[in-house]
C-alpha cells in the first residue's frame, strides 16, 4: 500500500466513498456529484460586469449570490444583515444558508463543481482549509487585499487589517482564507459587582489574589473556571508564562524546546501562581467538575468574581447574563518582573471565510469579502454577533456595543502591538491534551506545581519525536 501509485490512490478513494456511503446512503446526489466531478457543468460563463475603480472585480448588477455560513456561537443574523446590504448596493439576489453541517452540505457541491460564492467554513464539521487548498478549490484572495478599501479608496484593503491576518490565512504561499473574527483571551468580571464592592481592576497577580480573597470573605467564589474543559485554565497558565518570560518563553513551548517548561523559572512561577488559588481555597465551590455553560452561568449569578475565557463569552452567555451585569474584560494580571506589560493580551483570529475557485459568481464573492473588511460591515458584525473582527479599529465609535465587547475593543486598542498567540494547540493536539490533563490534576490539588512542570515537559518531549514536528517552527 504505497502512497505514490495513482491507481492505488483512486482505489482508496473508492473504498472511502463506500465507507462514506454508510453514513450518506440517502444523499444520492453525492454519488451523482462524484460522477460529474471535475467537469464544469455550467454551460454559461460567470456573469461579469465592467471593471472600474469602484467595482474592482467586475460584479454584474442584478446577479445572484450564494452564501453559506456556519451557524454556531455567532449565530447567522450578521450574515443576513450583510446580504441585505450587498443586495441593496448591487441589486443582487442573495440566497442564504446558515448550517452546522458544513461538510455534509458542501462536499457534494465542491465535488460537483457548483460550490457557493462565499462560505464561512467553520465549526466542528468544517472542511479542512488545507485539504481544499491542496485540491485547488479555493480562489486566491490576494486580489481582495490589493483592492482599494471601501472606507478610504486611497488605501488598500490589506492596510486595514490587524497584523497576522494574512499569515494565518496563507496556505502554500497563497492567501486563500480570510479569518475574520478577532478573539482576545483573558479574565472577565462583572462591572456591577466590582462597583458594589469597591474593587478596582487588578493589574498584578497579588492584587488579583487579594480580590479573590475578599470575594471569598464576602461569600462569593474567587475564580470560577470551566473545570470539565481544562483548556480554559491553560489559557491562564500559558498567558502567565508568556507575560513573565516574554515571547521567547512562548516560542520555546511552540518549538518544543527541551527547556520549555523544565528549568524555565517563568513557567514554574506561573504554575505556582495558579496553584496559589487552589492552595488558598479561592476557587468557586465545585468549579473543577463543571462544564463551560454551568460555570459561566454560575459566574453570571455572581457566584464568582472572575472567569477565564475568549471574547466569544458575551455572545455565548447572552441569555444568562443579567441586564445590569456590565461584563468587563481583564488581561491576565502580571507576576513580578514580567517581561510583557499588563496590557499585553493573547489574541488570534477564527472563522475562515473562503471564495471557491469554481464559484458561479466569483466577482460577487470577492466583492462580498471586500465589503466585510469595511468599517460598516465590521460594525454590523460587532453589533449582531457581539465580537470583534480583524478590521483595524473596525467598529464605529458612535455605535453602542454591549459592555463586554466594548471593553474588549478598548483592551485591543490599549494593547496595540503587544499581542501574542500560542500555536501548539493547533500543531500538537496530543501534547495539548496531556497538558490539559495535568492542569486538571493541579486544580484538583492532586499534583503540585513541580509535578505539573514535569508532566508538561514530558508532553513536549514526546511531541518533539512526532514526525510532524519537522514541519512546524516559528521564529
Amino acid at each position: 500500500m504505497g502512497s505514490t501509485g495513482e491507481g492505488i490512490g483512486r482505489r482508496d478513494l473508492i473504498k472511502r466513498s463506500v465507507a462514506l456511503g454508510l453514513i450518506s446512503v440517502p444523499t444520492m446526489s453525492f454519488l451523482s456529484a462524484c460522477a460529474s466531478g471535475g467537469e464544469d457543468t455550467s454551460t454559461k460563463g460567470p456573469d461579469k460586469g465592467a471593471v472600474t475603480k469602484e467595482n474592482p472585480f467586475g460584479v454584474a448588477k442584478g446577479g445572484k449570490l450564494d452564501v453559506v455560513v456556519f451557524k454556531g456561537g455567532f449565530g447567522d443574523d450578521y450574515a443576513k444583515a450583510w446580504e441585505a446590504a450587498f443586495d441593496k448596493k448591487w441589486g443582487t439576489t442573495s440566497s442564504h444558508l446558515g448550517t452546522q453541517e458544513i461538510a455534509a452540505k458542501l462536499q457534494p457541491r465542491f465535488n460537483g463543481g457548483n460550490p457557493p460564492d462565499v462560505i464561512d467554513d467553520s465549526g466542528a464539521q468544517q472542511i479542512k482549509i488545507d485539504v481544499l487548498a491542496k485540491g485547488g478549490q479555493l480562489a486566491e484572495l490576494t486580489q481582495v487585499l490589493d483592492a482599494p478599501s471601501l472606507d478610504d479608496p486611497s488605501k488598500k484593503v490589506r492596510d486595514m487589517l490587524i497584523p497576522g491576518t494574512v499569515e494565518q490565512g496563507t496556505q502554500g504561499g497563497k492567501f486563500v482564507a480570510l479569518y475574520y473574527v478577532y478573539t482576545v483571551f483573558g479574565f472577565w468580571y462583572s462591572g456591577k459587582l466590582f462597583k458594589e464592592k469597591g474593587w478596582a481592576e487588578p493589574k498584578t497577580w497579588d492584587a488579583f489574589l487579594d480580590i479573590c480573597t475578599k470575594a471569598k470573605a464576602a461569600g462569593i467564589g474567587g475564580l470560577a473556571h470551566q473545570g470539565k474543559y481544562p483548556y480554559y485554565i491553560n489559557v491562564v497558565i500559558m498567558d502567565l508564562i508568556a507575560k513573565k518570560g516574554g515571547l521567547e518563553a512562548m516560542k520555546a513551548i511552540d518549538n518544543l524546546e527541551p527547556n520549555a517548561f523544565e528549568g524555565n523559572p517563568a513557567a514554574l512561577a506561573a504554575v505556582e501562581a495558579v496553584y496559589e488559588i487552589v492552595e488558598k481555597d479561592l476557587l468557586m465551590a465545585g468549579t473543577n467538575g463543571l462544564t463551560h455553560t454551568e460555570s459561566q452561568t454560575a459566574w453570571n449569578q455572581y457566584k464568582a468574581a472572575f472567569i477565564p475565557s475568549g471574547s466569544w463569552l458575551e455572545n455565548e452567555q447572552l441569555k444568562q447574563t443579567p441586564d445590569d451585569f456590565d461584563m468587563k474584560f481583564l488581561p491576565v494580571p502580571t507576576l513580578a518582573d514580567s517581561k510583557l506589560p499588563f496590557e499585553a493580551i493573547r489574541a488570534g483570529a477564527g472563522e475562515p471565510f473562503i471564495v471557491p475557485e469554481k464559484a458561479a459568481n466569483k466577482p460577487g464573492g470577492l466583492e462580498f469579502l471586500r465589503s466585510m473588511l469595511s468599517r460598516e460591515w465590521s460594525t454590523l458584525f460587532a453589533q449582531q454577533a457581539n465580537s470583534l473582527t480583524v478590521v483595524k479599529d473596525g467598529v464605529d465609535p458612535n455605535v453602542k456595543l454591549r459592555p463586554g465587547t466594548a471593553s474588549a475593543v478598548a483592551a485591543v486598542k490599549t494593547a496595540g502591538t503587544n499581542t501574542f498567540n500560542y500555536l501548539y494547540p493547533d500543531w500538537y493536539s496530543e501534547m495539548d491534551t496531556e497538558i490539559q490533563n495535568a492542569s486538571n490534576e493541579l486544580m484538583a490539588k492532586r499534583i503540585q506545581p513541580k509535578e505539573w512542570i514535569k508532566r508538561a515537559q514530558a508532553a513536549v518531549d514526546k511531541a518533539a519525536k512526532d514526525p510532524n514536528a519537522k514541519n512546524n517552527h516559528r521564529s
Binding site: 500500500m1 473545570g227 465551590a285 467538575g289 491534551t433 490533563n437 486538571n440 484538583a444
Partner: protein, 314 residues
C-alpha cells in the same frame, strides 16, 4: 414435477430473497471490518488520501500505550461488574414481581402492585443514552446544584464549600458510571426475566411449595435453572455493552471524547475515537478497533461456552 426439481426451485426462490440482504451485509458490515484491518497496518492520518504501510508498528505501539492498557483494564472491570450487578438485581426484582408475593391457596403471584412495578421498572430503558447522560450529569453535578450534592449538603454530610466532585474523582468516576449503566439496564432485564418466569408452568412451583420449599430454595432450585437461557443471553449482551461504554464516558467525563480525570475513566472506545478524529492517528486507531473486535468475539464465545447447561424441557 419431481421432488428434486421442486427443491431446486425453492432454493432459488430463497436465494433470490437472500442475495440483496447478503450483499448489503457484505458491503456495510464485513467490508468496513476488512478495511479497518487493512488500515491498521498503515500510518493513515484520516485526513489525507496518502499513507504508508508500516507493518505491525501500530500493534507494537499499542502494547506500550499505557493509556490504552488502562482503558482495557477499565473495560475488564466493567465487564465483570456490569453483567453481574445488573443480572442479580434484575433477577431479584423479577422474582419478587412474579413469585415473591404471599403464597395464597395454591397460587404463585408477585408482591402487591407488581403489574405497576413492571411498567415503572421499564421506564429507564425508554430513555436514550444521550438523555441519560444529561440526566445523570445533573445528578452528579460537582457544585451544590447537583442532586446528590444538594441532598448530602442538606443532610449535613457534605460541606457546601467543598462539594464532592463525583465525576472528577479518580477513585469514584468509574463506579458513578457503572451505577448509570445498571440503573438503565435493570428494568429491561427485569421484564425479560419476568417473561421467562411466566412461561414456567405454575404447577412446578406448586409442587415445590407442596414439598415445603422456601422462597430462596424455590428461586435457586426451580426458577434460576429454568431461566438459564435468558441469563446467558443477557450476560453476553451486557458484556458487549461493558466493552463499549462510549456514549456515557465521552459525554459525562472530562477530556476530548471523555476519559478524564487524567484517564481514570478511559475505555477503549474513547481512546480509539480520540486517536482517530483528534490526534490524526487513524491507522493506530484502526489497530485498536481490531483489538476490540477480537476481544469482543472471544468474550462472546467464552461466555456462551462457560455458561452452557443441559436444557430443561417443560
Amino acid at each position: 414435477m419431481s421432488q428434486v426439481a421442486q427443491g431446486k426451485g425453492r432454493t432459488g426462490f430463497i436465494a433470490g430473497f437472500l442475495i440483496l440482504p447478503l450483499a448489503l451485509y457484505l458491503t456495510f458490515v464485513i467490508w468496513p471490518y476488512i478495511q479497518t484491518f487493512g488500515y491498521s497496518f498503515t500510518n493513515w492520518s484520516g485526513q489525507s488520501p496518502t499513507f504508508d504501510f508500516v507493518g505491525l508498528d501500530n500493534y507494537a505501539a499499542l502494547m506500550k500505550d499505557e493509556v490504552f492498557r488502562g482503558a482495557l483494564w477499565h473495560n475488564l472491570l466493567l465487564l465483570v461488574f456490569v453483567p453481574t450487578v445488573t443480572i442479580l438485581l434484575a433477577l431479584f426484582f423479577a422474582f419478587m414481581v412474579n413469585a415473591g408475593g404471599r403464597s395464597g391457596a395454591g397460587g404463585v403471584r408477585g408482591v402487591r402492585g407488581s403489574s405497576v412495578y413492571k411498567i415503572v421498572y421499564f421506564f429507564p430503558q425508554v430513555l436514550s443514552l444521550a438523555i441519560l447522560a444529561v440526566l445523570f450529569g445533573a445528578v452528579y453535578r460537582s457544585d451544590e446544584g447537583g442532586l446528590l450534592n444538594g441532598f448530602l449538603t442538606k443532610l449535613g454530610l457534605v460541606d457546601p464549600a467543598h462539594p464532592v466532585e463525583w465525576l472528577n474523582q479518580p477513585n469514584l468516576v468509574l463506579w458513578c458510571l457503572l451505577l448509570v449503566v445498571v440503573w438503565h439496564g435493570v428494568g429491561f432485564y427485569l421484564v425479560l426475566f419476568s417473561a421467562a418466569m411466566q412461561s414456567v408452568p405454575k404447577d412446578i412451583y406448586e409442587a415445590a411449595l407442596l414439598d415445603g420449599a422456601g422462597r430462596a430454595q424455590t428461586f435457586l432450585k426451580v426458577t434460576l435453572p429454568l431461566l438459564w437461557d435468558s441469563v446467558q443471553t443477557s450476560a453476553v449482551y451486557l458484556g458487549i455493552a461493558a466493552m463499549d461504554m462510549f456514549v456515557l464516558v465521552s459525554t459525562m467525563t472530562s477530556g476530548q471524547f471523555g476519559g478524564g480525570p487524567d484517564h481514570h475513566s478511559e475505555v477503549m472506545a474513547t481512546v480509539l475515537m480520540r486517536n482517530f478524529l483528534y490526534f490524526g492517528k487513524s491507522g493506530y486507531a484502526c489497530a485498536m478497533g481490531v483489538v476490540m473486535l477480537v476481544l469482543t468475539m472471544i468474550l462472546s464465545v467464552v461466555t456462551l461456552r462457560a455458561t452452557r447447561r443441559e436444557r430443561i424441557e417443560f
